[in-house]
Amino acid sequence: MIRLDNVGLRYGRGPEILRDVSFELAQGSFTFLTGPSGAGKSSLLRLLFLALKPTRGLISLFGRDVAVLRRREVPDMRRRIGVVFQDFRLLDHLTTFENVALPLRVQGKRFEDYRRDVEELLSWVGLSGQADAYPPVLSGGEKQRAAIARAVIGKPDLLLADEPTGNVDPALASRLMRLFVELNRFGTTVLIASHDSLLIQDSKAPVMTLAKGALTWSR
């Protein structure tokens, strides 16, 4: 599903953020990525959702070497990846409903066809009352849930989440984790970058730790 071989990344002429990172995630796996702030977790996720190209090394997604992907093939691969951004990246001029529906809309699906799915998912994440609200009036937790709903609405094969429970209370964090677990149970590969040691301890999933640009496994 995902394979990285000796991947290195640096921004411009700065120091290497990631050094010789190698790992493999099997299809249907559930993995945590942790490490101190600035260790390169978000950069690693950005490599995986094709927002960055590595300075060196090989990244293979769904059996394809991303270095040789043609530009027109990238959107198809992106549609198989759901991403929860740390800063949510909701569009302020769209309602919560429209933000969550965005991945389906860019695929050309019709409003009548996706409306019910979006409504049900909004209910699941507890945002059904905020469907017509715009992100600037949502709380941090509500934005986070909207971002999660947008990431999973397209039933992705791979879910990448950057601190997905960072702004919610423990009860809601646990509920959201259940959503990820359910997704994983039905075949989605899940990689969650998190600082939340309690959340990681509660789960029995393997943990990758990034420190000073290098990766180690535990569990």
Binding site: R72, E98, R105, V118, S123, K155
Partner: protein
């Protein structure tokens, strides 16, 4: 079925959701009103307004120049100067006979001595002195524009018919007018070219600014799996609206300004500004439809300019992603 694999939602919950959530059909993905796009609309409206006025001015100059030159070119004047020992009336008759016999002349009319004196009164005053002056006599000649006479031969024939008679073909004036008209046309085209170049630079700069302001939207769409052509079409839809509305605002503004000028000018005399503006819009069908077509091109070209510029700017942004 719920969107999330395996996440069960009860029928009751679904009903509750349906009751609570009644979202409207989705609006445009690219924000409809941003400061950068508003500024662009205002600036482009001004450019279109100026372009429409420049085109209207060019058309009016062209129409006036062709009217002047055709009128001047179709009329000749024979001047019969009084000479010692020559009866001027007889001299006029002799010239008239030559004109009568010359093919290519539609008609001619001799001004009487009194008519000639009347023409001189504004300059010399209405004193008795005019009666004593040897006043030249004038013969107006209207030539057949399709088959004009040989003017050199006609001039020789008139001079031979009577001493002191000469033919004035107004060629000097005609060529001066043609030169003036072509200079005015050149200036008009230069103004149009400057407006077009400024508009192109303005649109390129403004669309880049507007898209940079929407970079977040473009990035999110890109990361959500949108194809380049989907993103481009969403952006172009917005710029289509901007280009069309700017073009139409400029066109309507220019039409209003021309109507105002025509109204303020007041007079309707031939050759006046009001008549020129009216002639622009309400001349015979062929001319006014050409005017409308040329002015209609302004919003059309503005829209094409906005779309092209937006497409280039969005491609530039997309190229920086992955």
């Amino acid at each position: 079925m719920v969107a999330v694999k395996g996440v069960a939602v009860t029928a009751g919950a679904a009903k509750e959701v349906a009751a609570k959530v009644r979202p409207r059909p989705p609006g445009p993905i690219v924000p409809t009103s941003t400061a950068a796009l508003r500024t662009m609309t205002i600036a482009m409206s001004a450019m279109c307004f100026l372009a429409c006025l420049a085109i209207a001015g060019l058309l009016m100059v062209s129409a006036a120049a062709s009217a002047w030159t055709s009128r001047v070119g179709s009329e000749l004047t024979v001047q019969v100067k009084p000479s010692e020992g020559v009866d001027t009336d007889q001299a006029v008759e002799a010239v008239s006979a030559v004109l009568e016999a010359t093919p290519g002349i539609k008609r001619h009319y001799a001004l009487s001595r009194n008519d000639s004196v009347e023409l001189l009164k504004p300059w010399l005053g209405a004193g008795a002195m005019l009666e004593d002056l040897p006043v030249p006599r004038l013969i107006g000649v209207v030539v057949d524009g399709q088959h004009p006479p040989d003017l050199d031969r006609l001039a020789l024939a008139i001079e031979a018919a009577t001493p002191g008679a000469s033919l004035d073909s107004h060629r000097r004036w005609q060529s001066e007018m043609v030169r003036l008209a072509s200079a005015l046309r050149t200036v008009g085209f230069a103004i149009l070219a400057v407006i077009a170049a400024t508009a192109a630079a303005l649109v390129a700069y403004a669309s880049r600014g507007a898209l940079e302001a929407n970079r977040e939207t473009i990035e999110v769409l890109y990361l959500a799996g949108a194809r380049d052509r989907f993103i481009a079409s969403q952006v172009e839809r917005r710029f289509l609206k901007t280009g069309l509305s700017a073009g139409l605002i400029g066109l309507i503004g220019a039409a209003g300004a021309l109507a105002l000028v025509a109204g303020l000018a007041g007079e309707r005399e031939s050759g006046g500004i009001a008549a020129a503006v009216q002639g622009l819009m309400f001349s015979d069908f062929g001319d006014s439809s050409r005017t409308l077509a040329l002015l209609g091109l302004v919003p059309l070209l503005t829209t094409v300019l906005c779309l092209t510029s937006a497409r280039l700017a969005v491609r530039r942004i997309l190229r920086t992603m992955f």
